[in-house]
Amino acid sequence: MNDLKQLAFQRKNIMAFLAAASLLKGIATIGQALFFVFIADRVFLQNAAFESLLPLFGGLFAAILLRVMAGYAIGRAGVNLAADVKNEFRTNLIKSFAENPLLSAAQGQSGQKVSLLMDAVDEVDGFFSKYIPQMIQTYIIPLLLLVVIFTQNWTTGVIILITAPFIPVFMAMVGKGTKKKADEKMEQLNRFSGTFLDILQGLSTLKLFGQAEKQQKAIRKSSLSFRDSTMEVLKSAFLSSLMLEYISMLSIGIVALEIGLRLVVFDSISFFTAFFILILVPDFFNLLKDFGSAFHTARGSVSAAKQLGAELEKKHSPLTWGNEAVAPEPPHLSLEGLSFQYGEGFELAPFNGEIPPYSQVAIVGKSGSGKTTFMHLLAGLLPQSQGHLMINGVPRETVSEKSWFDQLSYISQNPYLFAGTIRENMEIGANRQVNDKEVLAAAEKAGIAEMISTLEQGFETLVGEAGRGLSGGEKQRIALARAFLKKPSLILFDEPTTGLDLRTEQILQASLRELQKTSTVITVAHRLHTIKNADIIFFLENGKLEAAGSHDELLQNYGPYKEMLAVQQGGGVR
């Protein structure tokens, strides 16, 4: 709660404004009661003529206007304050998502993260738009009222002083119980979003396995349990406002009794004072009650903020980069004891090797042997745990991230197509403006131009989510076109030809040969022909570099390689 308060108090201007408006509202409240009572007293007891009351009515009107305006100003400031803080939260959250290293980005559920960005931040609203303004008012107005009450009838003041402190004590007691429940509720909403998005994505799978109905039940269950935890939170909120109601009623009752006694029995107080106090005292308690319900809204906000804080505080170990620019030509790469491990999981043993400029490198190995991981490491997407990747003789950490990625094209194993046009999806790979001709040329090189030309809207066809569906190979080729658009000096291909037929592969081979003239190409490959032409082949097994050399070298010296080739040529459906 204190963290959130700090956020509010950092905005000094708004807080000062709130205080000033609250002061005005307090004065107006007192003025309103005063004029009210004046008029009632004159009419009722002094039989005054109506005309003589007009100035008093004027005063009452002014007090009402002032009160409303002050209330409006407070509300407005609250809304602005909340908007400001929410903006800050969202910006920070988005920044943290963007700065996430690849590895932690893969963790957790996207739906949950989206829910944080949307629902949790929205939940924070109440703290700033309701609680803070109410809190400031509660610091100021009741105090004013109390002063006035003391000047009018000090015994009433004493009664209030004795009874009022029960309210915060009680609030704190109930609040303690709700804290955990409010946290739970927020967490459940979050989890629901995560699960729901995942289920949505896998709906077809679920249906194929006849599990859709079961999921339905799961959704019903989690939805009902969400309802129950919401109700738990609300119940205690309602209960506490019931209690506040009773406390305030009890105090008002005692005050009324005391005033009544004085009025009737002892005659030691005027009707004017009695009525005035009777109007002010409920106002006093109303403010405390409002504060009580705002307090409950704030509880929800605090739970939400806690979740946001947890996400924002996640320690990332980002990759470090330097400022040295990489020359725009194929680099000389040396791997010096480069190694990596996924947390406690799969480990890539220290790698040593050289990749001279313009070389063609093939990486082979069984599924799960660490090829993709190795490519990620080479591309500078994962932080090595030991060793160095030397780029033209300097460690990767000292080169500038931008200049490195400007040189590099990496087509990953299952590239993502964004919702947008085919053209946009290709351009994403380029680091500059490209014209139509270049786009067409890239599509041709990737062997997808013909297919695109049959589409009614050609390159402007929308693909990705909510767009036109594509076949597996078509998606792959659009992603490949990204590399042809860029003219990089270092290219990493992770199984570029999976899902492509042989004819398309022929086209691709020609295009690749062209690329090789101007760049270093590193390819993860299952297919023989890519491997055969490579200058160096890295053979991986279980995360270890078991052998390196040209095709002929490996064929002669390394048994497992020979075995692998035999299977490829020999057959078996794949």
Binding site: A83, A98, S110, V114, S204, F209, F238, Y416, Q506, M564
Partner: protein, 568 residues
């Protein structure tokens, strides 16, 4: 209001709660008016009399009203909220129920972030429907009318002032703001949706954005969307604040005029001064809760929009499906002259295709990328309805069959498989909820994933698995299901040949009398298949055994030539 019909229907499932809430709401309102009124009366009376008894009786009444009001308020809140949140859970479930039959077609129309924001955000916002739209006017109306009725016994003038006040606060001010809102509206929901969409895509496409150095640009765009959403929320908040302030001003002015009119009548001797304070207090109490009415149009619009956004998705009727079950025992699949084109496409993705799959046979489908292989498989699965032609399974026409009963008989590995956030175990249990650990481990061993512990975490979409591991896990899932119709769409395309071959052998071994259909780009090893189907441009251009096709020296033969030249 039409749009809200479904929501209303779901709300009224909890009829009893709603009725109780309205009842308590009325009692609470009336009691608090009575409380304030009697305190006004008490003080005036006390000023005139010196009877202790009046005072005591009145004070007792005060207490009673107070207790009743507070208790009923509690009851009202409890029941209305319970009804609301039960309604929300009904809504979520009913939405999902109606969404499920629309997959996978729905994903061609809506982005997943959109669907997420609708089912979470929009459903959540519908909580205001009961709490702020449906019953407050009802309760408020009843309380007002009874207050005015009561006041009219003392002074018609004051009753008239209150009546006008009621019209203003309950109808005129909300209506004015409703008109203002119409002009600016629809923004917040839509902006919220687009932020959710962008955020989801940002997270899903994170790796590619990073690789292509587009993170900054996208981050900017996302931040921009967030700012816009925030701004539109802020405007909405300000508008609500303005409306509430105006309404509370009107409410205060009503008591001002009640006092004025009352004072005038008292001075003129037409009203007993004893009742003045009471009437003023009544008006204050009755109008105390009217400020939220100002927000009525906002919440009404919001609920309506949310309901529309929800209905939009599930409105289209799912294609009618049959209800009959498939018979037991070996089944054959027969497709005759089937054509299918994707919605909105001119060209047929599968064009006039006939094929017959007999139990105990193995069929391979080959052909260039985009030739319709995967589509053909979806047709065999009866996922899409045929435009022309006929699919029959086990001799029964597919239209008559319940879709689930077809899928229940099939082991399917799609070209892209979904894995759920969870563990290896939870992902395998989807195929067979009753499977024992040993059974699952055996299935994993068959696809050479024996190193995976069942408790191993699987990240969203299986991001922590290698490409080949995902495919193998999908095969393990199919193995666990253990049915006799195998439909495999490039199941081992990302697996090395050695492992891939071993897995195929394993599969063929397990399913000796089964039907196998496998799509493949690799022509090596097709000798083992009983039938090879060559597709091109949505048509079957050639089919037969390996031997036959090689002898015919046509399409398949050419493909083989290409293979040789590529591998040369």
């Amino acid at each position: 209001m039409n749009e809200l019909k479904h929501v209303l229907r779901l709300t009224l499932i909890e009829k009893k709660d709603v009725a109780i809430a309205i009842f308590f709401g009325f009692i609470a309102g009336a009691a608090s008016v009575a409380l304030m009124g009697s305190s006004g009366y008490l003080i005036s009376k006390a000023a005139l009399t010196s009877h202790m008894t009046t005072l005591v009786v009145m004070a007792a009444c005060l207490k009673l009203f107070g207790f009743i009001s507070a208790l009923s308020r509690y009851g009202e809140r409890l029941y209305s909220h319970r009804a609301t949140f039960t309604m929300l859970s009904h809504l979520r479930v009913s939405f999902f129920d109606r969404l499920a039959p629309l997959a996978p077609g729905i994903f061609g129309k809506y982005r997943s972030g959109d669907l997420l924001s609708r089912i979470v955000g929009d459903v959540e916002s519908l909580q205001n429907f009961l709490l702020r739209v449906f019953y407050p006017p009802v309760v408020l109306g009843i309380v007002f009318l009874s207050t005015i009725f009561f006041s009219s016994f003392f002074s018609m003038g004051i009753a008239a002032v209150m009546f006008i006040g009621m019209l203003l606060t309950v109808i005129v001010v909300p209506a004015l703001f409703s008109i203002r809102k119409r002009r600016t509206d629809g923004q917040t929901r839509a902006k919220r949706g687009s932020l959710a969409i962008e955020a989801t895509e940002f997270l899903y496409g994170f790796r590619d954005l990073k690789i292509h150095q587009q993170l900054n640009a996208k981050e900017q765009q996302l931040a921009n969307d967030a700012v816009q959403y925030n701004e539109s929320q802020r405007k909405e908040g300000l508008e609500e604040n303005l409306a509430q302030s105006i309404n509370s001003m009107v409410a205060l002015l009503v008591s001002f005029f009640v006092l004025g009119v009352g004072a005038y009548f008292v001075a003129a001797g037409e009203l007993n001064g004893l009742y003045l304070a009471m009437l003023v207090m009544i008006s204050i109490a009755a109008f105390e809760n009217v400020a939220p009415m100002a927000a009525f149009p906002a919440y009404f619009e919001e609920s309506r929009k949310a309901a529309v956004r929800l209905e939009e998705i599930v409105a289209e009727p799912a294609a009618p499906r049959g209800t009959e079950q498939l018979p037991e025992g070996p089944l054959d699949i027969k497709l005759t002259r089937a054509s299918f084109s994707y919605p909105g496409e001119k060209k047929a993705a599968v064009d006039d295709v006939s094929l017959h799959l007999k139990p105990g046979t193995k069929t391979a489908i080959v052909g260039p990328s985009g030739s319709g292989k995967s589509t053909l498989m979806q047709l065999l699965l009866n996922v899409f309805p045929l435009d022309h032609g006929q699919l029959s399974i086990g001799g029964m026409p597919a239209e008559k069959l319940q879709q689930e009963s077809i899928w229940q008989k099939m082991n399917v590995v799609l070209q892209e498989n979904h894995f759920f956030y969870g563990t290896v175990r939870s992902n395998l249990l989807i195929a067979d909820p009753e499977a024992s650990d040993e059974k699952m481990e055996r299935a994993l061993a068959k696809v050479q994933l024996e190193l995976f512990p069942l408790s191993m975490a699987v990240e969203e979409k299986g991001q922590n698995l290698s490409g080949g591991q995902k495919q193998r896990l999908a095969i393990a899932r199919a193995l666990l299901k253990g049915k006799s119709l195998w439909l495999l769409d490039e199941p081992v395309s990302s697996v090395d040949s050695l492992t891939g071959q071993a897995i195929y052998e394993e599969l063929f071994q397990q399913g000796k009398g089964d039907i196998f259909v496998a799509i493949s780009h690799d022509l090596a090893g097709l000798e083992k298949m009983d039938q090879i189907i060559v597709m091109e441009n949505g048509r079957i251009v050639e089919s037969g055994s390996y031997q036959e096709l090689m002898e015919r020296k046509s399409h398949f033969h050419q493909l083989k030539q290409v293979e040789n030249s590529v591998f040369a």
